[in-house]
């Protein structure tokens, strides 16, 4: 039961955090200058966006849930299971970021989910 709880937290908080960070990155804009000083300025610009901090908070929660999972199960099981976030991510990108997701991408996400199911079935 505790494995389900931690996996749920990894997926929901992790996906929510990534969506918030993505939203912040789209606000900041595309990177054209990859020199170190420019990248540092870019990071500071990103840190001034509220979505970034919400995203970091959610990803921190997901991180500690991942640590809890890794203390219970093997990493070769835990990490592929987190791919369940693909379905949540695609749905969130559609609803929250207003990205257009082509049928081909949905097909890819569906195949990934089948793979995750096989990985889950390999659990002893």
């Amino acid at each position: 039961m505790r494995e389900f709880f931690f996996l749920f937290m990894v997926i929901v908080a992790g996906t929510g955090g990534e969506l918030c960070v993505t939203r912040a990155m789209k606000v900041v804009g595309e990177v054209h200058d990859f020199r170190p000083a420019a990248l540092v300025r870019f990071v500071f610009r990103a840190m001034r966006v509220g979505w970034m901090w919400i995203g970091i908070g959610m990803m921190t929660l997901a991180f500690f849930s991942l640590l809890a999972m890794l203390s219970i199960e093997n990493v070769s099981l835990v990490v592929p299971l987190t791919a369940l976030s693909y379905a949540a991510g695609a749905t969130g990108a559609l609803l929250f970021l207003h990205e257009r997701i082509s049928p081909q991408r949905w097909l890819g996400v569906l195949i990934v989910c089948v793979g995750v199911t096989l990985v889950w079935l390999s659990r002893r």
Partner: protein
Amino acid sequence: MKDSPGLHFKTYVLIFLMVLFAPVGNILLSKGMKQIGSAKDWAPADMLPILAKILASPYIWLGIACLLAFFVAYMLVLTWADYSYVQPASAFSYAVVAFLSYFLLGEVVPPLRWAGIAVICLGVLVVGRTPPRTTERI
């Protein structure tokens, strides 16, 4: 903005860095957590000693450093590519983490798990054949 060879090149380079750093980070975190061990009943009083051990573990800190490197590459690529493209494309890290767990941690990876990971990678290939950006900036 139109897709260009330069856009694809920098996208692939940063996704390669993500696929490298994320599995290595997860392997280090797993090594650290296996040394620390699991909480007995997950009561709040049991969590503080475990948290102290986590903060004192070099494997955990090295893992965090790798995941931070992953995060920087991830942030950069998301400034021009769709989230729904980048997230699936980075799934090759699942295969890498299985290989590393087998060779470095000695984990037993059953054939069904390898099959599942292969199917995940197939899904990644399907997603990877779509353009990196399908929407304008918000």
